[in-house]
Symmetry: C2
Subunit: 243 residues, 2 copies
DNA sequence: GAGTGGTCTAGACCACTTC
DNA sequence: AAGTGGTCTAGACCACTCC
């Protein structure tokens, strides 16, 4: 039986949640894996089963765990790499909704521009991996992405063949570099297209673009990747429910 | 002690939640009011206190109730009338963030345009109240709203002096017409400004606008109001966290 | 001090999945 | 049948608010 750590004035279920969260964050419990049952956890940490339930419920709420009745409790696989497409409606020539292909057109190590070093919390001019990536449907570019990674933590990534990397980057970050993206902050704005992007995205001058900035973070909130994506505003539609 | 209604195969806490939800929806419990304590509810419905807690927790989660430690449980006041400003950054001449004034520049009863009757689930050409409203800062228009209401349910609204109506409409719908807005579906798109809006919003030709469509609904999901708001895309910034 | 919600216990029984 | 999570009970004690 392990003792609960942390401030003893905090509720037990919160201290237990913190302990379990650490199992996930430290990757002792891997994505997709089953974790011990609530009774086992309760016994291990010396709390009542109801208290263990409460801790588990909190972690489900945070999106760290998933519970399946009769099967068990599992570490959730984060998977929002495709989630840019919440903001756009793209369809192919046949009118079907499709997931665009990905093409990395540039990848190099460079000194971080000031905004990038600020976002990634790196020293001014620290080394970063920069990528230029296109998303295409039927071979036509419809989204342009600039992606920056801290070079220090992503050295293995540079060894990969860019042509071999699929459309989902985050699973690659996980498997190759041990960096797990758990959440992200996004910010949307509108700008008028500049000549280079007009050429890349096959749009006229004077058309508006949606610009999506995303700072991807690990479980502990530390910045992992910063990207800026641009797509034609005509394709943009965002739906949400408020209350 | 009241018996729990509904399908007996459903969990008790869900049937209890349904019963309590009905108290709010039917306005027997009014916005802001304190409701009975969990022990009283548990006794009234013949369930254990823990089961009552579970039902209350669900309604808090749904946004219907609020609990305050040591004070009691209260019916939440829905208040997202100002929430358009999640999407825009507006400041006055002094650079401070401010809540814009409101001016109803037109209000009349008309036959519903087809999209409006579709959204509000009315018969084709049913009578609706139409309003043109401006939001201004330092007297300068920065947001133009078109608002439609089903005339049948909002007759008392037409009797009000438009100059007396403040910036928040939903509390007025509630107090004057007994219509409570509980949630809303919003949809954002981008369009190029048309000459009338260029004049109203004091922007150049060829600037993009953000268009926000909002369908406001009651507790039971029935449509109450449909509005379309337009503002300059340059002022637009939407931030969100995903996971 | 009385009343409220928040935490915690130690069970029982049920529903679902897997073997 | 065994193991899992989901529901439910009947309490105890604590922390907070209000009078």
């Amino acid at each position: 039986m392990s003792a609960l750590k942390g401030d003893a004035r905090l509720p037990r279920y919160q201290r237990l949640a913190e302990a379990l969260r650490d199992e996930v964050v430290s990757r002792r419990w891997r994505a997709g894996e089953q974790i011990p049952s609530e009774n086992v956890i309760a016994e291990q940490y010396g709390v009542a089963p109801g208290t263990a339930r409460q801790a588990l419920a909190q972690l489900v709420d945070e999106g760290l765990l998933e519970r399946q009745h009769g099967r068990g409790t599992f570490v959730r696989r984060p998977s929002f790499d495709q989630s840019l497409f919440r903001f756009f409606r793209f369809s192919n020539e046949a009118g079907e909704r499709v997931v665009p292909e990905s093409r990395i057109v540039q990848r190099e190590v460079m000194s971080a521009p000031s905004e990038v070093s600020r976002q990634l919390q790196l020293a001014e001019g620290a080394e970063v991996i920069f990528m230029n990536r296109l998303r295409l449907i039927d071979g036509v570019p419809i989204l342009a992405e600039q992606i920056w990674l801290p070079a220090a933590r992503f050295a293995p990534f540079m060894a990969l063949d860019t042509a071999e990397i699929g459309p989902l980057l985050y699973p690659v970050y996980d498997s190759e570099c041990g960096e797990v993206v758990a959440r992200a902050d996004e910010s949307l704005t509108v700008e008028m297209v500049t000549p280079p992007y007009a050429r890349i995205l096959h749009v006229e001058e004077n058309t508006p673009l949606i610009v999506i900035d995303r700072l991807a973070r690990g479980f502990d909130g530390s910045p992992i990747e910063w990207r800026r994506s641009r797509g034609p505003a005509a394709q943009f539609k965002y739906q949400t429910e408020i209350r």
